[in-house]
Symmetry: C2
């Protein structure tokens, strides 16, 4: 077996076979250059079983654009396609089509609009809109979804975890349990969505975010196997990392051994003029141990030392820990907020794998084709009305209410500009007779969400730094109703169609039903 993944597995052939067979069919029919529009959107929020999301954080776009910029169709990739044969032994792809495929910039003729990374996004709203030659846009489907689905999923999960711990550090530790090389993308998405730092060294550095970490149980085991003790291990660590000393205290017994030994080492550091960082708890009843550890650290004069918690954490577990601390801290004479504010959380498996909902259902649907000068809307009928996409060349508008909170995302036909309207009829995307009328006076702002990110074979935006993407996320979350951000049973955010788009969709559905 060729063990390597080389560029043939990550370049233009990082796609589904049927994109290429369809592209060849379009080529043969003379349809390949016909201008088409595909919308990328997801259909439903992640639903983790016991709890579900009320919003998502958009992520992955910069790496998609980077891939589009870098990808070219090389001779060896053409040769791979040339080598494919069908059942009768003939080549699947003809020389004519392969000549068309062979290009240094396969996506040069596409235009892509997208909602920027870090922004709060909702179901059925086009997050990415691809326009251009049908066959090129078709081939982009799979790599686009591959780049955007996973990062948006993980950014969303991270945002939920950060949402329950707004004053604490959130550390991403998932590389070892992550989905192979995809964990690198998961780390990036976690840092966009709400993780403050990650343990993943390489990608953290590339993103300008210093990696974080301390030590494992194995370090204590090494000293013990060689006849030493936990205290020896801690002393050695404190000697090397005097100003960055964070000790894992549960290798033997947290309360009886780990914390007393850590405090002893912290006292030695203090005598030498150094301030310890804190301790990490990785097993046991983390809420109970946090309160007791806090008490022991405070009594020894280390009120500033932090306590990092890890071990199968997610937003519900963290929420439960905080709730339990609020109950238990007073029993030891501690202010709950003092305990809680000095906690940090190391989140691994359940963030990087989005446990409970491990894949976002993002899709990429043909919504219009250009015939001469007009866009002809297109859609696919489904027995489930909510699964019928919204046709045509559209724009996306976000409405803010008098409180400056986002109140609806509105899909409109491209010529409609709600900024000039005095009254808005907002239609449910699939339910007949579910609509509401909003007066201009109730709306403090109307914002256009899509921006041009790719044209003329080039990235058309300044690719933002991590800090800027995070600032967008933060600003959007602050403009979201707290009920929508809620971890359990969130309010349903409104995604609506304008009256014109609704009418067009109904007309099209009627024409397609056999």
């Amino acid at each position: 077996m060729k063990a390597t993944r080389n560029h043939a597995s990550t370049g233009i052939l990082l796609t589904d076979q049927y994109q290429l067979t369809m592209a060849q069919l379009y080529y043969r029919q003379g349809l390949h250059e016909k201008e088409a529009q595909f919308d990328h959107f997801f259909r439903s929020y992640p639903d983790y079983g016991k709890h579900k999301a009320g919003y998502c954080i958009n992520a992955g776009l910069a790496w998609l654009l980077d891939w589009m910029k870098g990808v070219c169709v090389r001779d060896d990739e053409i040769n791979i396609l040339k080598s494919q044969t069908g059942r009768a032994g003939d080549p699947i792809f003809g020389e004519d089509f392969l000549d068309w495929m062979r290009t240094p910039s396969p996506f040069a003729d596409l235009e892509v609009d997208a909602i920027p990374e870090g922004r709060v996004v909702h179901p059925n709203v086009p997050l990415t809109v691809v326009r251009g030659p049908l066959a090129r846009a078709q081939i982009l489907e799979t790599p686009l979804l591959n780049h955007l689905n996973y990062q948006t999923l993980i950014a969303t999960k991270a945002s939920r975890m950060a949402g329950v711990t707004p004053n604490s550090l959130l550390l991403e530790f998932g590389l070892r349990r992550g989905p192979g090389r995809g964990a690198v993308e998961g780390t990036r998405a976690a840092l966009i969505g709400g993780a403050d730092f990650s343990s993943n060294v390489g990608i953290s550095h590339l993103l300008g975010c210093p990696p974080k970490g301390t030590h494992a149980h194995s370090m204590v085991q090494v000293f013990m196997a060689l006849g030493g003790s936990e205290l020896d291990a801690f002393r050695a660590y404190a000697d090397v990392y005097r100003d960055d000393c964070l000790l894992l205290v549960d290798t033997i017994d947290t309360l009886e051994s780990g914390i007393p030994n850590a405090i002893r080492v912290f006292e030695e550091l203090r005598e030498k003029g150094h301030q310890p960082v804190g301790i990490r708890l990785d097993s046991g009843d983390l809420a109970y141990l946090s309160v007791h550890a806090r008490k022991m650290l405070d009594d020894a004069g280390f009120e500033e030392a932090i306590i990092v918690l890890s071990n199968q954490l997610d937003e519900l577990v963290i929420w439960q820990i905080i709730t339990q601390i609020q109950e238990e801290a007073p029993c030891l004479g501690l202010e709950p907020d003092h305990v809680i504010d000095k906690l940090a959380y190391g989140v691994g498996t359940r963030l990087i794998s989005s446990k409970g909902h491990p894949a976002l259902d993002g899709v990429y649907k043909l919504v219009a084709l250009r015939e001469k000068d007009a866009w002809v809307p297109s859609l696919k009928i489904s027995e489930t009305p909510a699964k019928i996409p919204n046709p045509d060349y559209k724009r996306v508008w976000r409405f803010y209410d008098e409180r400056e909170k986002a109140t609806a995302d509105v899909l409109a036909l491209s010529h409609e500009d709600p900024r000039t309207w005095r009254e808005f009829t907002l239609h449910h995307p699939s339910e007949h007779n579910v609509k509401r009328v909003v007066k201009a006076g109730e709306v403090s702002a109307v914002e256009s969400l899509l921006e041009r990110v790719w044209e003329d074979g080039r990235v058309a935006v300044d690719v933002p730094a991590l800090g800027e993407i995070r600032a967008r996320r933060q600003a959007d979350l602050e403009r979201l109703d707290p009920g929508v951000c809620r971890v359990m049973n969130p309010h349903i955010y409104h995604v609506s169609l304008t009256e014109h788009l609704w009418d067009e969709k109904q007309k099209l559905i009627a024409s397609l039903i056999p």
Copy 2:
């Protein structure tokens, strides 16, 4: 933001920060060259909520070895580490340690034993054993787990799906919903575990397995938007792919439009001397539609045409479809097996994301350190006895019973060779007093599972082709008790310790409890 993932995110820095801080500590303490042994194993089978696995399929090793072979520590990576500063502003990593880090082959001094890819494996059994200089073996932890956890998870899920459809093609379609670049690894693991083919073009080719695929709804939409019909789309497809014609029939209405149109096109093909491949159903009641589609195809003389099913399939959904067909087929005068044997399954999201259990809990634990000429066993105590690893330098033996079915995996001390014994006392790994005695006469074979895969900085095995890995999987599954393979409530396979290993473990635990 630097949008690229370059080698800094996938080379030696594809690791957790604490591996490097621990390595530096070992270096400073003069412990970095001390010979250590780490065991990699998982603790529990994937548990999908409504159902759980009774075995796993080992996967990922070839790509780990490939990574180990290719990785070197480059100047730019050293510079990244050099640039890291602690809280006090001083560099975290010293020049002395970085000089030690800088090497063309960081894992040259390690020896790695492993259970081959494709083999059936069980919890708490060392799948990979790493021996060598402590600091080097420590740094390998994260990339090793990253390479092995996800592929083993996905190979296992694929094996379960293949297990319920032994006579049907299983097609992997998950790239679009997969975890970013990790989907490439997911495809490979799916092909190892039980998928016959994948839609993912590049990696399928690299693995020597032709990619498969047909067309999407969008192709039919294109023809309709341009004033044509589903029939026009099908005809165009059949014209280009005469010997490979597989049509997606649910864009408008499966029974009223899609299948009649497909049959018409198939008849036209037949007149020209071509045999159609079949149809694909992607929505609706797949069992009901399969039976009716079969009847319609058969009545038109296309008994050989296959029916590909897709849409949120997993092992339970497939099982349910088969069960329903067994009930419904006779109502239309069809043999259930005739309907079932001509089905193929396209599995996407739920395979590539291992929905229900999206991360395997593989760990990498220090189990021994060499002091002078002897291995000193090491372990980490846990309040949960099942979480205490098995110490020391061990071997792994698989016992087969008189039926030549695997009956237990036995962990033994390295000098023990059960092939020479007349009677075996097999101990539960954590429960006192749970043991059984097996006589040599009841054992048809004893097999050593670990083989040397890496030494002297080189891959020490011939890396097998996909076909060989699949053959191993098949042979192991045939030697597994059907109760262990069962999709729901599987029998628990025995993983046991020899009496000597059990005694040593207990002695060590007693010595460590404070």
